[in-house]
Symmetry: C2
Subunit: 210 residues, 2 copies
């Protein structure tokens, strides 16, 4: 299809498609004449993926480019590629106003990971992300107690176990990367929504009868 048809099919404007082409997020189409190129369903699919990452995952374009580069790079093994994908979509914390609680939070995260039997690289961005959020909760005097942290770790483990087994069933190497990306970024949003539903239900169970 032509760029105008790709635009109609995807709902993405021609100007944005050209921007993604320039930025290397979308591979060039097959050139059919000096100023025309042909696009296929692979381009349409990639456009949908970019939009989901930007709109639902709220990832900056530069991060989307890095992530897609990891997906497209055939030279890396599955574990490493999943690592690059998941590392790229993990924020590295927030501006710090909880500095005095950082060491304590880091120790709590490390203890939780150890109790959960998780083996992770010492430079995993998620370690810093977890530490920074937990430090902020301490600064607000509302850090979760050990029991809640334990429940969250079990919840995370339950989800991740299913995630990785599903990724393994997703066929090709590129399919696995895409599944990891979508399941992680959009999955965060879905998990958060499910948690709200469960919270509402638990709140009704605990409070309505009083």
């Amino acid at each position: 299809m032509r760029v105008s048809e790709l635009s109609r099919a995807s709902g993405v404007s021609v100007a944005t498609i050209k921007y993604y082409l320039r930025e290397g997020l979308l591979p060039r189409g097959e050139t059919t004449s000096p100023n025309q190129a042909r696009y296929d369903t692979g381009h349409l699919r990639r456009l949908r993926l970019i939009r989901a990452l930007v709109e639902v995952g709220e990832l900056p374009i530069a991060v989307v480019r890095d992530v897609l580069a990891a997906v497209d790079d055939p030279g890396t093994g599955l574990h490493e590629m999943l690592g690059r994908t998941i590392y790229a979509v993990t924020g590295t914390g927030t501006p710090d106003d909880a500095g005095e609680f950082t060491d304590r939070a880091a120790a709590e995260v490390a203890a939780l990971a150890a109790r959960s039997g998780w083996t992770v690289s010492a430079d995993a961005p998620a370690l810093r992300a977890a530490r920074d959020v937990l430090a902020r909760m301490h600064a607000l005097d509302r850090a979760p107690g050990e029991e809640v942290l334990q429940a969250w770790a079990e919840a995370a483990d339950r989800a991740a176990d299913a995630d990785l087994h599903a990724i393994d069933r997703s066929g090709s190497r590129e399919g696995a990367a895409e599944a990891a990306l979508i399941g992680t970024v959009l999955g965060d949003a879905l998990l958060a929504a499910l948690r709200r539903l469960a919270q509402e239900s638990w709140s009704a169970r605990l409070h309505r009868q009083h």
Copy 2:
């Protein structure tokens, strides 16, 4: 303390503090002279809460105001107040390019809630949020299968069970609202980070030996 001291203690600029005062996010201090007011640790605490909601939760100022109004309103019961708080921080989906999958996704979310034994209001924003994310995953041909959805629902239920019991232990009514707010908004970020850690660990377990 004076506004300049409140600014130093909180790391929030005087201009931003004045903006929050005008917008009603921060209660006025006690007037000590025609152009001076005194602030206390309650103001400092509220400022830290606003910053966490804006910076970690990425909530718009208007949403922060609504949420804090729900927390501050003494006329509502605990279940209703928690509902207003949790509803206010739940995005109501994303621009829709997955329209054809919306009905299917809505049915899947309803079935999942029923299987999980969740009783939720039909107008819970999280129902729409879950539906819209799931519809997008379908449009990308990467929707989680029944097994993964089930695992995510169990994870959400495990987390929410602990959340609500912790909220119940948090003392005053205002304390409960604040705990719900922080545990939900910052808890999303912490849970997402823990899921990344668990994913890395599961990926190592499943792929490194091959």
